[in-house]
């Protein structure tokens, strides 16, 4: 039986890799040239990404950077809050009472107390809580680190909240016993503060407005009307990039805002500058690399004309000989990328050890995500195969007769 099979791709790849191994000195030169481009670029991009990520992380660690403070008192109803919550990029919204009514005295006993602590309404998703703490509920409240320090209390202990009012010429003191459910981390909020459910804050304002508030121990008098309107709001963006548009929307509602946009902008500027530096260096290196690769591949094909012609003589098709050249380029590039990645791992460890010493334990200076590695590998492979395709075009025009003559 006459076999009709044609040379397969597996055989082609096996021949291509044997050829590279036989020619390993030249192969290693090409690989070394590629590593010399790939490793520094990975390190450079790792540094850029790591530094920017670190700066952004520091911004994100401080919830104030996501906060959009509403200046002054307003008249905000339920519909307005619904409207705000529907805006894109909103991370957390919580109604707030008039600014003077968000203060209260906290005491553990006569020795340990905090006068005029800030009382902040909180709920699920509050950036101040971080990822660890549960929101306040009922009598279970949270203290800021400085308030906890001054009261010398920890989780599980009880404190007393006191609010004063003048009603018909008499000073009255509303009081409530609360349990400390937890303490905020130091970085979350620097001043003495108490995180409470919104209804407790509303109760405080109602009390000051002269209504009967059983929750604070004053059941006599007029009951407060149902709460429909608030003077202010706590507003947090979902991410750093959402701060500016959200502030702009609030300004559009004729509400003046305060943000930390300047800090965010400076990090973005660092990102842009580093990005530009990286792009310029990357392009320079890539062009140099393409030129050197093109030279190496083309010279290699000229050196191997005889062998390529012989493959054609033995019955490999033109396209197979072109593919042979490209398979070799892909193999060399894969090896170079693996070595370059190892070099990157070593280099980034050095960076993170030396430069990361003054950062927190889990901090890093140089870092790449898996996606970056994958993209870098794909682009390196693409460039190498494109360059090899130029050589491959030359290779497919090698005549098989060249292998018969003048050897």
């Amino acid at each position: 039986m006459r076999p009709d099979a044609r040379p397969g791709w597996g055989l082609l790849a096996a021949l291509a890799s044997r050829d590279l191994w036989h020619d390993r000195q030249v192969s290693l030169c090409i690989v070394a040239a590629l590593v010399a481009v790939i490793a520094p670029l990975l390190l450079l991009f790792g540094l850029k990404h790591g530094v920017v990520l670190q700066l952004r992380g520091e911004l994100l660690d401080d919830p104030r950077n996501l906060e959009i403070r509403l200046l002054g008192n307003h008249d905000l109803d339920r519909a307005w809050f619904a409207h705000l919550a529907a805006q894109p990029g909103v991370g957390f919204v919580m109604p707030l009472t008039r600014s003077l009514n968000t203060q209260a005295d906290l005491a553990r006993d006569s020795q340990r107390f905090v006068a005029d602590a800030e009382v902040i309404p909180s709920g699920p998703g509050d950036p101040l809580l971080g990822t660890r703490l549960a929101p306040p509920e009922g009598d279970r409240v949270l203290l800021s680190a400085s308030a906890a320090r001054r009261l010398e209390v920890g989780a599980g202990e009880r404190i007393r909240l006191a609010v004063l009012r003048k009603l018909d010429g008499n000073s009255e003191r509303g009081q409530r016993e609360l349990t400390v459910a937890g303490v905020l981390p130091e970085t979350a909020f620097s001043r003495p503060a108490l995180l409470v459910p919104l209804d407790l804050l509303v109760a405080m304002e109602d009390f000051r407005d002269g209504f009967a508030v059983p929750a604070l121990g004053f059941a006599a008098g007029r009951a407060p009307p149902p709460r429909e309107r608030y003077a202010r709001a706590r507003v947090y963006a979902g991410s750093l990039d959402d701060v500016a548009p959200l502030a702009a929307w609030l300004e559009g509602q004729r509400i003046e805002t305060g943000t930390r946009l300047r800090e965010i902008e400076s990090v973005k500027a660092v990102d842009r500058v580093l990005g530009l530096i990286f792009a310029v260096i990357a392009w320079t290196a890539a062009i140099g690399c393409v030129a050197s690769l093109a030279g190496a591949f083309l010279a290699n094909i000229d050196r191997k004309r005889k062998d390529l012609a012989l493959l054609r003589l033995l019955g490999f098709r033109r396209i197979a000989v072109g593919a042979y050249v490209m398979v070799q380029a892909a193999l060399l590039t894969s090896l170079a990328f693996a070595l370059g990645y190892l070099a990157y791992l070593a280099g980034s460890t050095v960076f993170n050890r030396a430069l990361g010493a003054n950062l927190a334990a889990d901090a890093f200076v140089c870092r790449l995500e898996n996606l970056h590695i994958l993209l870098a590998f794909a682009s390196a492979l693409l460039i190498a195969i494109l360059v090899a395709a130029v050589g491959g075009y030359r290779a497919i025009h090698i005549q098989p007769a060249e292998s018969l003559r003048d050897l």
Binding site: G8, R18, L314, F316
Partner: protein, 238 residues
């Protein structure tokens, strides 16, 4: 009567103004013929055209017998249409080449070089005939050497085994003995002739060595100057 394996009529090409013409050639299975003629008269060019690696300018007929099918394969049509891929497949399946000095791939050892044509066709690496030829040509101790480690004679022998490894119908050899000393040349020559006849491979080789051709009683296709000296015509020697 069985049809010839190969039948060619009026195969021609110009090299500049110099014309190389083969009016007629028929080869039966197992038949050995030699292309001879003065240096530079176009022997290699003729061999390349018959070997499907050089496209002739004129060609009336080029047929290769198909063992199983009824009608012979019309190679002339494939050449005219420049069907490169199909011609490459034909080279892989039905032709075997012995270049002047081996033409072995430097990165494969002798065994891998010999096995390559069979692997290209998806055949098992070592056929019975390959093992037999390896034995007869004394290649057994050289199987794991790279071509660079071999003498020219050894390379030629390895190249010959590679050329017949996939049991081709037509073997083409371009001065396979040119680089060998007379003793080695004769030995290889005799092996080629004997093997071709035994395996029923039609063989066409370029050679200068008239004495050797005469001793082996090989049919000769002689290149003679065309009338006026503007080319060469290859005809069977009288």
């Amino acid at each position: 009567m069985t049809p010839p394996l190969l039948h060619i009529e009026n195969l021609a090409i110009h090299r500049g103004t110099y014309r190389i013409l083969l009016p007629r050639l028929s080869l039966a299975r197992g038949e050995v013929a030699a292309i001879t003629g003065a240096s530079g008269c176009g022997k290699s060019t003729l061999l390349e055209m018959i070997g499907l690696i050089l496209r002739p300018e004129d060609l009336d007929r080029y047929e290769l017998d198909e063992r199983d099918a009824g009608a012979p394969l019309d190679i002339a049509a494939l050449l005219r249409a420049d069907r490169q891929a199909r011609l490459a497949d034909l080279r892989a399946q039905r032709l075997g080449f012995v270049p002047q000095s081996g033409g072995l791939l430097p990165f494969l050892d002798v065994r891998q070089n010999i096995a390559l044509p069979r692997r290209m066709l998806g055949l098992p690496a070592g056929g019975e005939r390959v093992e037999e030829a390896v034995e007869r040509l004394g290649l057994r101790p050289l199987l794991h050497k790279k071509p660079a480690q071999l003498s020219i004679g050894e390379r030629q022998r390895a190249s010959f085994v590679r050329a017949i490894a996939h049991e081709p119908d037509l073997l083409l050899a371009d001065e396979p003995t040119a680089a060998l000393d007379p003793f080695q040349a004769r030995r290889l020559f005799e092996l080629i002739v004997e093997t071709s006849q035994r395996l029923r491979i039609a063989t066409l080789l370029v050679s200068h060595d008239w004495g050797l051709l005469r001793d082996c009683a090989i049919r000769r296709l002689v290149g003679v100057p065309e009338d006026g000296g503007g080319g060469t015509v290859f005809r069977d020697a009288a």
